[in-house]
């Protein structure tokens, strides 16, 4: 960050007031990280919160703030699906069409919505209210089929419920997600939160839906609990000291079941990056 105000020589087309507000926010973002460049992803969310997409001005702004070239910023912005390359609707309506949701009804929901709104994937309705998207797995598979509106959860949807929600959004009504804030906010407001500027709505909504609590419900019903603490009582040996060989908790009495048991630390499929999915720790 140079001492000279960016506005004095900014190549962006933002007016002075917008630029000043953006610059103040950008400084707060950069302050969260040891290296300013780590602020680029939140800063791209920030410019979306002003422009409704990652505009040319937005790219130039990020580049100026972080002393990068516009090409370097564009390379990042085009890598991630949440950064929109043309003006987004007030609401992103995303239907999960990854395998499980698609099979459970996501395909039918998407097709019905697409027909109803007369738009395809990543297209926006003429009134600018809704951008329809196919989205990938959003980590709510126990609520399939799932729809996201501005990245809030709408669980267990049907083609009918999804079109009703779309109609209410277009009519400007307040619409509440199944698990989320009391009402869905706009795409720009969503983007501002994702830039790390809270809107104070964390206490709205539920802690969990039914499926999240299903195992716990059964455990309560059956009286099942995790074992009691085995931490040593005061004055005794702390529990993290390995048990004596031959006692109940000693690994020495375990029978080897894999090659690794014989040779601890031997590489196997569980080594990071070796033969498992991308989420690899």
């Amino acid at each position: 960050m140079t001492a000279e105000p960016v506005g004095a020589r900014s190549r962006t087309g933002y007016d002075a007031e917008t630029l000043a507000a953006l610059t103040a926010d950008a400084e707060k973002i950069v302050a969260r990280y040891p290296d300013p460049r780590s602020g680029l992803l939140p800063m791209l969310h920030l410019v979306q919160s002003v422009d409704g997409y990652v505009s040319r001005d937005g790219i130039l702004f990020c580049a100026e703030q972080l002393e990068l070239t516009a090409a370097e910023v564009s390379a990042v912005a085009t890598f991630y699906t949440q950064y929109k390359r043309h003006p987004n609707g007030t609401y992103t309506v995303g239907v999960c069409t990854n395998t499980l949701c698609a099979v459970m009804g996501g395909d039918a929901i998407f097709d019905r919505l697409s027909e109803h709104l007369d738009v395809g994937h990543d297209e926006t309705t003429e009134d600018g209210s809704i951008t329809l998207e196919r989205v990938e797995c959003n980590a709510a598979c126990d609520y399939a089929p799932v729809m996201m509106v501005n990245w809030e959860f709408f669980d267990n949807q049907t083609p009918e419920s999804a079109t009703q929600i779309a109609d209410r959004l277009r009519a400007g009504e307040e619409v509440a997600p199944t698990r989320g804030a009391a009402s869905v906010c706009s795409f720009k407001q969503t983007s501002r939160v994702l830039a790390g500027f809270t809107d104070g709505r964390a206490d709205e909504g539920v802690a969990a839906g039914g499926p999240t609590l299903e195992g716990l419900r059964i455990a309560r019903e059956q009286g099942w609990v995790a074992p009691g603490p085995q931490r040593a009582a005061e004055g005794e040996e702390p529990a993290e000291v390995p048990p004596e060989t031959g006692t109940a908790q000693s690994s020495a009495e375990r029978k080897p079941t894999t090659a690794q048991d014989e040779k601890p630390g031997a590489p196997d499929a569980s080594e990071p990056g070796k033969g498992t999915e991308a989420s690899d720790d």
Partner: protein, 446 residues
């Protein structure tokens, strides 16, 4: 002997305003941090090693050992980065955990940071879960206010800053080195390993990257003891884990149980496969783990047993599909996903997933011919083990395993015959077609 289900992480989720610090403290929260701060950091690492905790994000690498790989302190910064980019298809455990009880994760972050000598930790959460991000931001703010984060935590002299960072939509960022590049403000593409993050991670400094559930399991180990944790589970797969049942199940959801429980036991709890239908195939740990069938119902869901049966425990994402589901359609859609999410860095994955998608689409559309099935296997053979990171390997798993178990179903699609299944029959809400057949299915399915 422990009970069938063992609520530990889930135990507070039904409490009033369970996401707040007040609720968490009322249920024994931060006891683990108190216990940890009274010990030498090295003893905390040892306790986690003794507990047998293995990474809950998919690969199952021993968590304490991962911490132990950090080089000796050199006076420079060391980082903890929590992988909260839960995106593996079928995986839906970390997101509800952070929505219902974010303090559980924050406490784990504080303990882990203390153990490894980290003073600035990061939680990288995927950007597509707005309310989870709100809850995490609020939880961190509450923890600062109460002195569980910040300077001189609980009078211990230990300082810790925590930054919650939202991603922007990219499955590959669940791969730990891609996540680090993304957190540095770059395109999320994996790095060559070695050096592993323990040696050169975030900003090329020693870094531990752990999954949300792994870190959230640490407070319990500190509060109740390593032996307590190890008393659950099997001989080599110890402790509790979240099992996520989804799909054609009567009552899907999260089931927290000792590792080693079977799908048969879990299905019994969940009311079985939906009424009038039977199990056809399932994933033990997300779409990147080879599929199983009804013959695997009694495989203990621990790292070793699932591995011995030809798949991987992964993230315990049990996606259940009944006999109405076309396996070719399911696999084709997963392949669309891998092709879409391939970061483009390496040729086997970038080109391979593209061609897998083309071949599967034509098989699905009835335009495939005899050699196409072997062509798929050949393509997989050229990706597996040759891709830069595990995404490419994962892309081959559903294909090779489904051909192994359902080759005849692939063959039934060939030579103009097309898909013999009615997609409307597998939907949750109706058994009658919702759309003309030509429109049903987004992946060219007819």
């Amino acid at each position: 002997m422990t009970d069938t289900l063992t609520p530990v992480l889930t135990d507070t989720w039904d409490a009033e305003r369970s996401w707040t610090l007040e609720s968490y403290l009322a249920h024994g929260g931060y006891e683990g941090l108190r216990a940890a701060l009274a010990q030498d950091p090295a003893d905390v690492v040892q306790a986690v090693k003794d507990s047998g905790l293995r990474g809950r994000g998919g690969a199952g690498f021993p968590t304490g050992m991962k911490w132990g790989f950090l080089p000796a302190p050199d006076g420079g910064p060391r980082y903890l980065v929590v992988n909260a980019d839960e995106s593996e298809p079928g995986t839906c455990k970390d997101i509800p955990l952070m929505l219902a009880s974010p303090q559980h994760l924050i406490e784990g972050v504080a303990i882990t940071s203390y153990a490894i000598g980290c003073h600035h930790a990061f939680i990288y959460v995927r950007g597509e879960v707005l309310h989870v991000y709100r809850r995490l931001l609020a939880a961190v703010a509450e923890a600062y206010d109460a002195g569980y984060l910040g300077t001189d935590i609980q009078g211990s002299g230990f300082d810790l800053e925590v930054t919650v960072h939202a991603g922007a939509g990219a499955y590959i960022c669940g791969e730990e080195t891609a996540l680090l590049d993304s957190l540095e403000g770059k395109r999320g593409q994996p790095r060559l390993k070695p050096p592993f993050p323990a040696v050169a991670g975030l900003y090329a400094r020693p870094t531990v990257v752990n999954n949300v559930e792994s870190i959230a399991s640490v407070p319990g180990i500190m509060a109740k003891g390593a032996d307590w944790f190890a008393s659950m589970g099997t001989e080599k797969s110890q402790g509790h884990g979240l099992f996520s049942l989804s799909g054609h199940v009567t009552r899907p959801g999260q089931f927290e149980a000792p590792l080693g429980i079977t799908l048969r036991e879990l299905l019994d709890l969940a009311g079985g496969v939906r009424e009038g239908h039977e199990l056809k195939f399932w994933t033990p740990g997300g779409s990147s783990t080879p599929i199983f069938t009804a013959e695997h119902l009694d495989v203990p869901l621990d790292y070793e047993s699932v591995g011995a049966a030809g798949s991987m425990l992964g993230t315990r994402a049990l996606q259940v599909f009944d006999e109405t589901t076309c396996v070719v359609r399911a696999v084709s859609r997963w392949t669309d996903f891998y092709a879409h999410e391939s970061c483009g860095k390496c040729t086997p994955c970038r080109e391979g997933t593209y061609w897998l998608k083309q071949v599967l689409h034509r098989i699905e559309a009835g335009e495939g011919t005899g050699p196409d099935i072997d062509l798929l296997l050949d393509l997989c053979d050229n990706i597996l083990g040759r891709a830069f990171c595990a995404l490419g390997d994962g892309a081959t798993s559903p294909i090779t395993s489904s051909i192994q178990y359902f080759r005849e179903e692939y063959e039934a699609h060939l030579d103009g015959r097309g898909c013999p299944f009615d997609p409307a029959r597998s939907t949750l809400f109706d058994d009658t077609p919702q759309a003309p057949p030509a429109l049903a299915g987004a992946g060219g399915h007819r």
